[in-house]
Symmetry: C2
Subunit: 247 residues, 2 copies
Amino acid sequence: MSNEPVWERPEPSGKPSPTPLSRDLIVSAAIRLADAGGLDEVSFRKVAAALNAGPMRLYGYVETKDELLDLMVDEVYGEITPPPSSAGWREGLRHVAHGIRDATKRHEWFIDLLSNRPHQGPNALTHLETTLATVRFDDIDQVLGAVGAVMAYVFGAVRGEITELRAERSSGMTEEQWQRASGPYMQRMLATGRFPTLARVMHESSDTDPAHRFEIGLGYVLDGIATRHNLAWRPAGSASEPSAQSP
Amino acid sequence: MSNEPVWERPEPSGKPSPTPLSRDLIVSAAIRLADAGGLDEVSFRKVAAALNAGPMRLYGYVETKDELLDLMVDEVYGEITPPPSSAGWREGLRHVAHGIRDATKRHEWFIDLLSNRPHQGPNALTHLETTLATVRFDDIDQVLGAVGAVMAYVFGAVRGEITELRAERSSGMTEEQWQRASGPYMQRMLATGRFPTLARVMHESSDTDPAHRFEIGLGYVLDGIATRHNLAWRPAGSASEPSAQSP
DNA sequence: TATCTGTCAATACACTGTATCGGCAAGAGA
DNA sequence: TCTCTTGCCGATACAGTGTATTGACAGATA
């Protein structure tokens, strides 16, 4: 009934109980379950059971399951360390990108909760704030464009990684050879000759390290921002970053 | 029991029936339902009901619900027109990017089915093949890197768009003013003063057209690829595209 | 002490994906 | 033509989901 978002709604007034409860306890239990067995393990019944409580007890703290998921997402945002305020826009955005990727490594389900609703919890907002603040272009539209592009790339890339990783895991522990067409189905498809370029990629590509591929793509995006805005920029492996200026 | 993927498994031998059935009928019914009411409307019971059949009848054509979703995804890939073979890498990738974005406009649920499993249906594979083939760099790793980065950006950006669009729709038809902090919660948050840059973005940004923002980010990625690989490239609005060369 | 208020457990409902079983109808063999 | 097999389909059932409803009980207040 209450139209306020979770973040602004107070929790029930911890009445002394054999097993005390709180929003924090609930979300951390849910996160534990999700980390261990994926989002499917997160049900009100299971979360409540993990806390020695009845399922309906959770509804005092959380109005709906989506709210619980929102709280979980925001908790993950809270784990991500902001870039140092001394960082230039390029280092800053790289830091943020890796922060999200690392967080998703710890909580794979994080990436599944992107399309539910926008992330507006307090931690998500401060994450967004510090990310925007690290890009000190004069033109605010350029700031938004740069941050938006980097975020879009990061989310897409991380999602791809996780998807691939899950496929490997479920498809019988095929380590990195999975995309090498070791799956019999893929082998048959490639054998049809209808996918020559794809076959070439599978057979000849030497770049199978996901972290490296992530870095490559991220480099593209950052280079593009620098090029488009005529920012000074060094091609590779350079330590210092010039302070940003919009043209 | 059969370990073969759907794509290689024959359908039941169309026995004459009052209401004939086929995989195509099933997936198009499912797609119709999903287009109309989102993925939640796609259940075996509802799809079967739309075809005047019992739910269990579908299991002859599709072994599991994930298989049905895979078929739906592949159908969407089939709708995407490949780039003209005359296109250079930049036009080609732009064409692919917009193809995916447009398809997602027609079928919003498409973007939700990315993290399930990799897309390996015949249409998805030919889509990937033509995408790779449009980038004629000598170094195959550079091809994969470029295509991977563009795809990651596209998926991330489109997902963001759809998420925002859904939020607007559910949050009471707030058109484009949503991100202008018209939501009372956001207004309160911004009023705390803890998010100055975010507030500035919300108030001062004039760039609210999603299509334009998509284009901007895509431009970053393509510029980055061109820059990184020292490809000839014109900053803006230039018609002809030089044929690609890797350094 | 009596009343109110807020928290919780139990039950119930509609819905999901899918395993199992039993029948039925078409094709094959005699 | 009669039987038998085979493959498809419907009905039922089961375990699980999110959540609405109800009723009891405990602590605070009058």
